[in-house]
Symmetry: C2
Subunit: 219 residues, 2 copies
Amino acid sequence: MEEYSKSKTNRVKRGANRATYNVEKINTILDAGFLCYVGYIYEGKPITIPMAYSRRDDKIYIHGSTANRMLVSILESKETSITVMHLDGLVLARSGLHHSVNYRSVTLFGSLKKVEKDADKTNVLKWIVNQMVPNQWQSLRPMYQKELDRTLVVEFTIETASAKVREVSVLDEPEDYDLDIWAGIIPIKQVAKYPIADEGKPKKMKIPKHILNYYEANK
Amino acid sequence: MEEYSKSKTNRVKRGANRATYNVEKINTILDAGFLCYVGYIYEGKPITIPMAYSRRDDKIYIHGSTANRMLVSILESKETSITVMHLDGLVLARSGLHHSVNYRSVTLFGSLKKVEKDADKTNVLKWIVNQMVPNQWQSLRPMYQKELDRTLVVEFTIETASAKVREVSVLDEPEDYDLDIWAGIIPIKQVAKYPIADEGKPKKMKIPKHILNYYEANK
């Protein structure tokens, strides 16, 4: 599949010129982050919960406590959607109306199931940790059975999706370009600062290479 | 009011030790950003839309086109919630389970109404632009009537809310502190890069002081 099919649910109406349904482009946006916003309905109200995730092929994995109200609710109701957004810049136009932001955002719709087997759950947790910081999992102590037992792992299969990307400069009304008003972009970036070692042994250890690599790639 | 009352909807169950209902703390988190995640229900599914906002007292203002599906939907159904989150750090523990992030997040529940009067709408749009970059509105050309006419401005009155904040170091199992595993925090920050002038006059103009101030405060 190269493109997600368009339905009433995922078709972008506002700013359709910025929309894409391309699977590869959507995956690239998903792989650039690790925090998603998961929607669920509680007593008739839509509530959004930020969550760590990992993507593998057309699956998004999230996890939490077995008592997590949101995860239990979406597994039961099957009603959810997942949103990921990266803010790339502030668009300062000559008029209020044309103020905007540059961004990459994705909204996903799909089906849900609980990951049951311990080996599969462990694999998913590895992917989630490694989506945050690549190669981090291999340096950790193995999970205890009791930790696995109290962790709920949910697999979300993307069935349809859309992305919206704005990555252009200011777009003002034609007659406004002659005004003596400064306009432009303030680029915005999420950056990592130098890692801070925890008390005890880490203070005396070298920071592992994969963590320094993360810092260098994101500073 | 100093604290939002706790109800079944807004009471934090998971990680209750990190929860606060304090109005001032919640306002401080809201004032540190300008992007919120608004939930709505479309054909039975909860969908989350990122939106610019401004806070004034117990009101959150958002806006969009008069044809915006989400805004029209929440005004009609009255069912929404608003989430704001700031990511402050990656918490790299000695075990997978204790990996976490440092963050400040808020979830708001409340009532909605359309802002009708042109003068009020204009004021709100000024607040939204200025929440993004302080003092930006005063340098812009005034809005046209036709621009106001096609803009839908929504006032959300916060009725109940909760915040969750994690701002501590790694919290591992007691027996894990002796392991030869590096643990620590990678601080994360959203930063501004140097402003890029738009084609035309801005290329020849000095960058206005309020924009340089924003850059200096956020670089």
